[in-house]
Amino acid sequence: MNILHWIYGVLSFLGHDIGYALAYIIESIILLIFVSVMLIFMIYLFRKYMARVQQRIGPNRVGKFGSLQLIADALKLMGKEIIFPKERDDLPYKVAPYIVFFGLILAFAFLPYGNLSIFGNLTITYSDVSIIFIFAILAIMPIGEVLAGVGSHNKYALMGALRSVAKDVSFEVPMMLSVLAIVMMASARTSTSLSLESIVTTEILPYGILEPIGLFVFFIAMIARASYAPFDMGESDSELVSGYSTEYTGMRFALFYIGLFGSIFLGSLLIALLYIGGFNGPFSSQVGFIWLIVKGLILVLISFTIWLSMPRIRIDRLVNAGWKYLLPISFINLVLAGVLTLGLGW
């Protein structure tokens, strides 16, 4: 049972076409609210976690334990004066943050979330090739970063955009190869091996146990994709003021900031789905959604720990790491996956 059908059941008096159209819109809004709430919670979690790791207290004045601090910050950013650079390239400059943000939100629509008691599944639409779809959407977000860098007419922004493109290009390939290994292994058990849902439901053991190398490669590539330390090339705040978001103020800057945390959350959910069993677990037909979120949040905390414990690496070493180390490792992983699937029949 899906939330979509549940909403359609309520709206069925409007007829098939209008009912489904409205149901899709309402469920999209529900998803948008869910993602926004999760992101606000994540930013709060990050600030508290960072503070406690640095032996500070963190936000504690607005609301109980500073829980309303993020809402206050969002209101502040909305109320700020928007300053446009004089020689900007107008359309790319204005469109870039929305490309980053909506690209991110779109990717959440295709994730299989698992069931939650009577509410059913949050997934908006199912596809037999959802993996390809999600990674295609993930490839949209760097376009927003490039547009921001080029449109800002600022040398720091341009450098940041160049770096983030170099980073994305060199880590996309190992990431896709490690996903290919999973698709290979899943194709032995299901005919729709490109669908995330069927990959997760037909697995015997979580793929992270069967191919830890793939998990390692995918995790590192996901860090690079979300661009936080040690791979925060696009931002590099000690060298390039703030990278591609240098010239942005107010709500447009907030969209980039949300995009960063959203990528971390999306990456964690993807790792949870692909490698550590996603919504599988005890009572998964009732509380699969909670399993997924818990696994995702544990991965988010690991990501934050990586973020807070590492310095930024140099851009040439980063590109080297992508092409000279991760790519061969992911090929080895691919061969191992083939051996496991065809040779041993796992």
């Binding site: 976690y49 790791v53 032996q55 500070r56 207290i57 504690n60 990586i306 414990s309």
Partner: protein
């Protein structure tokens, strides 16, 4: 002489140990003190604010002379005090006072002395304290 080679590092071990040490700080107590609600430790002999006993002051101007940065100026204050015939009392500028405590040391009648109080922030844009304000408690001055 044999040169000692540095130990060859195993990749990823350093990264993992860094992550563990970062995560272990999570369970330590924060060092931040929430100032207005929680008071930090104050040493017993800490002194900041200069106070004045108006009845003991003899107007000898020694404090004005000894003050190294001219924070103390003598001021005329009409007041019944048989020991202070010239009616001169010190006037302190806390903006320049360095709390050297020379005035307290040199005062022959211990009329001028330093107290434990240090929260002298006020809405008036001046650090000047008149003799009457010096004689008052800090809470009354704020009123």
């Amino acid at each position: 002489m044999e040169v000692k080679e540095p130990k060859k590092r195993i990749p990823l071990i350093g990264i993992l140990s860094g992550m563990i040490s970062v995560a272990s700080h999570l369970f330590r107590k924060p060092v931040t003190v929430q100032y207005p609600e929680v008071r930090p430790y104050e040493p017993e002999r800490f002194r900041f604010r200069i106070s004045l006993k108006l009845d003991d002051c003899v107007g000898c101007t020694l404090c004005e002379q000894v003050c190294p940065n001219g924070s103390i100026k003598m001021e005329k204050l009409v007041r019944e005090n048989p020991r202070n015939k010239r009616m001169l009392y010190p006037d302190v500028n806390f903006g320049t006072c360095t709390v050297c405590r020379n005035c307290e040391e040199i005062c022959p009648t211990t009329a001028i002395y330093l107290t434990h109080e240090f929260e002298t922030a006020r809405t008036k844009n001046s650090f000047l304290y008149s003799p009457l304000e010096l004689a008052m408690d800090e809470k009354e001055v704020k009123k």
